[in-house]
């Protein structure tokens, strides 16, 4: 026995990998995190993209971080601070911007009926989102041929297995839905799988309001407002938006400090080439440098397709399982634009006091739908939808004095662009800047440097198969016990010794951290059995 016996290797130092590392280390396990990049953080990272200009590279607003994790890991003591919390949403349009602060319309041409409808809409969204948030910290139940209601009551040791560590979780979800009360439960069941377009058309009059609300259902997804289940996807964005001081890298930076404080070892610039299999079991990893590292368990923060088809290899898996993994919908459709600006950008009608809020270009449903349509044919939007943040307004450290950084999610930009991204990059950037300058006419003259990350760039630079930030579309057919695929939805995988902890697992992406925390619980329960 060496000192390394019982060591758990976590492949990938994204936020979920770090959360998992921190919890495992707190439980007394010897943990080693291997991160391929030069710094930890994965897709929640702050990078310098032009001299003196830093920006959150992929995720840029924090809205779903599990508060329990922040508390339990004492992230604020470990350096997490906020430059600004509870950002308002400013929807840019032809006329005056619409300013939303939760359920309140602070500015904009909105009728009293719409204001009342918005209050009711937001109230319900928050109740429904709370049901989903409750589920975040629960390991999904496993349903299969072996599932039996009677086994729920079997407390014997052989029922507390890694295959179905949380048989009650689905029942708890059903109970949470029931506890919404008759009216709200019926409403959830009625609209649960609906498209947001029809729902918003039913409820609201203001085109600008409908556009702003619809964006929540499609941001980051390969879905348009008329796509099925966009109501469900909109619930993922019901939280308040915050800007961590120092960008998203501050979140993962604090997580790394917490993990190290708990005893975890973190090695950066250590890309893993493959897993070592001994018989059926994963017994360690091989780095690209050739170095072999043994492990009692390997926990993968990489996306499921990279994990199973790349690092494990399809030949070590069963055919149907490998096919399911291959067919995970993971083609990203959102690009990321970063601009280094010589001065504060001026958006028409937006007072300086609102520049640091969440600015969106989604003026109405038809605009979003028209932006989405080309992606169906593997073309980019010529008039894209944008979610814009100018974080340097609240966080001066991100740019040289008097200068600013602009960060924008730009949709739609299909990963599998028919013309290819080497040809598509320049015209798509031009189309994006053309839309931006429609709202900020002087913007072009202020640009010092620009960085466009297409989904292909995100795939290559952040090692996410398909370039989808959520490691797979976060939709009902890839949710809870179906995430990433049946057979691996309880963090344990069909390969003994291998676990998942990334956004590809329940509850998914969005810098929640819950997948990492749940995975740590599953690993601890599984390795005790």
């Amino acid at each position: 026995m060496t000192d390394d016996a019982g060591r758990i290797v976590i492949v990938g130092g994204g936020h979920n990998g770090l959360v998992c590392a921190a919890y495992l280390a707190r439980a007394g396990r010897k943990v080693l995190v291997l991160e391929a990049a030069e710094q930890v953080g994965g897709a929640a990272v702050t990078r310098e993209f032009a001299p003196g200009f830093r920006v959150s590279s992929v995720a840029h607003l924090l809205h779903a971080l599990d508060p329990r994790i922040a508390r339990e890991l004492r992230l604020e003591q470990h350096g997490l601070a906020y430059a600004r919390r509870a950002l308002r949403t400013v929807s840019l349009g032809e006329g005056a911007p619409l300013v939303l602060d939760g359920a309140n319309v602070e500015a904009g041409d909105v009728t009293p009926a719409d204001r009342a409808a918005l209050a009711e809409y937001v109230r319900r969204q928050q109740r429904f989102a709370a049901v989903l948030a409750n589920q975040h910290s629960r390991i999904p139940s496993r349903l299969g041929a072996g599932f039996s209601v009677f086994r729920l009551f079997d407390r014997s040791a052989n029922n507390r297995n890694t295959e179905n560590p949380a048989p009650w979780s689905l029942a708890k979800f059903a109970l949470d839905v029931r506890l919404l009360g008759r009216a709200d439960m019926r409403e959830l069941l009625r609209v649960g799988t609906m498209n947001l377009h029809d729902l918003l058309e039913d409820r609201f009059e203001s085109a600008q309001l409908k556009g702003a609300l619809a964006l929540d259902g499609v941001l980051g997804a390969r879905l348009g407002p008329r796509s099925g289940q966009t109501f469900f996807t909109s619930l993922q964005r019901a939280g308040a938006y915050a800007l961590p001081r120092g960008g998203m890298g501050a979140v993962t930076g604090a997580l790394a400090v917490a993990a190290r404080a708990a005893g975890a070892e973190i090695r950066v610039a250590s890309p893993v080439a493959s897993f070592t299999l001994h018989g059926d079991r994963v017994t360690g990893v091989v780095l690209q440098s050739g170095e072999q590292i043994e492990a009692a368990a390997v926990v993968s923060n990489a996306d499921p397709q990279t994990t199973f088809l790349g690092l494990v290899g399809a030949r070590h898996l069963d055919t149907e399982f490998a096919r399911r993994v291959l067919h995970i919908r993971s083609q990203g459709c959102a690009a990321k634009l970063h601009l280094a600006l010589a001065g504060a950008p001026g958006f028409r009608g937006v007072p300086a006091g609102l520049l640091g809020e969440r600015l969106i270009i989604a003026p109405d449903l038809g605009y979003i739908d028209a932006a989405f349509n080309p992606s169906k044919y593997r073309e980019y939007s010529t008039q894209p939808v944008l979610e814009i943040s100018v974080p340097s307004v609240h966080d001066a450290g991100l740019a040289p004095a008097g200068q600013h950084v602009l960060s924008a999610i730009v949709q739609y930009a299909p990963r599998d662009l028919a013309m290819g991204w080497s040809a598509g990059r320049a015209p798509f950037l031009e189309a994006t800047l053309a839309v931006l300058t429609r709202y900020a006419p002087a913007l072009r003259s202020q640009i010092v440097a620009a960085e466009l990350l297409t989904p292909l760039d995100i795939e290559n630079e952040f090692r996410i198969h398909g370039g989808h930030w959520h490691h797979g579309e976060l939709a009902l057919d890839q949710y809870m016990m179906l995430r990433p695929v049946p057979g691996a939805a309880q963090y344990a995988t069909p390969v003994p010794g291998l676990w998942l902890c990334g956004a590809g697992s329940h509850p998914g992406g969005g810098v929640i951290g819950a997948a990492g925390r749940n995975a740590a619980r599953a690993v601890l329960a599984g390795s005790r059995a």
Binding site: A145, A314, R315, H316, D318, T319, E320, A322, P494
Partner: protein
Amino acid sequence: MTIPQEHHLQAVFPTPFHARTAAANTLNVWHRWRDYTVADAYFDVSLEYTALRNACTVFDLSPMTKHLITGPDALSFMNRLVTRDVAKLKPGRVGYTVWCDDEGQVVDDGTIFHLREGVYRLCSQERQLDWLHASGLGFEVAIQEDTHDVAALALQGPTSCAVLKRLGLAGIETLTPFGIRSFAFEGGELTVSRTGFTGDLGYELWIDPELALMLWDRLFDVGAPVGIKPMGTHALEMSRIEAGFIQAGVDFLPADRAIRAGRTRSPFELDLAWLVDFGKSHFTGRRALLAEQARGSRYRLVKLDVEGNKPARDAYIYDRRRKNVGVVTSSMWSPAAKSNIALASVEMPYGAPGGELWAEIYYQKELKWSRFMARCTVVEGPFYSPARRRATPAADF
């Protein structure tokens, strides 16, 4: 590829031997086997069966689903697909095998022909192209279905070797069971394997469809003095039950066709444990089968010697005449074994070798139905397995 106009008007095709099988089919009875029509019987099922066991018969095997598997990873692919160790199958040899889904349930059974180093032909009972392609993920392997490119005949029975010798296949008698050998034939190549579905001495002949009719004619020319006859699927069915061979869709439900949980069977549950090799690299279903081995199987396939002479068709199987423990999947009165035989699937732990079970048999005489409980003995090995089946060199008879 261009699809001809109105191609849909013909969904079922004649086999490359159809001109001859149609002429020989004095009963004019046919059924559909995948994309082709084949003869149920030619002149009399009993006489065709008798010809098989006492002379030799020709069965048109062309509709059998065939795949050609090539490429640098062909062996690794085959080993990931099937339960047995294909590395042990040398070039020029054939192996029977099954393959399973993730749950270790049998998808299909078939034969692997190791034609040349790294080139395999996989014959299956069911269509498998989709499953093979899915299984090919991550392997450098080319998989193509070549059912339509290969004409095939099964020449089976005691005088089958004599017929091939008369055909001029020098040294054919030295071909061992499950061996493959190729011969020049009329400007083409005739591949002969000592394989079959009858449990008798016999061969399967594989040839370019262009040469199919020529092969048929030559076989019947040289075979006439040793009693060669055409044989349909009904007589084949009799012989395969006597041999104790299972049939997809009859003795087990292919896993990809099952909708209800628990209707499928693992290799262990089909008495095919000898096909499962845990010592080799990963194969689909391996983890599930290891778990089954540790936990115990739910069913077992048993061969039954049934009291009396009434076939136990679809009969329920009972333990001590009281508890229903299974069902008969194939049954017949066996002329060769001179006994009433059946294959049955029974729940564990019933049906231990040498044990006793009971079959509930319904039969009718002139539309009057009767029922009786027949005592069954669980037997091991094939019901009928003549020494000539394995003897090398094969005799002429």
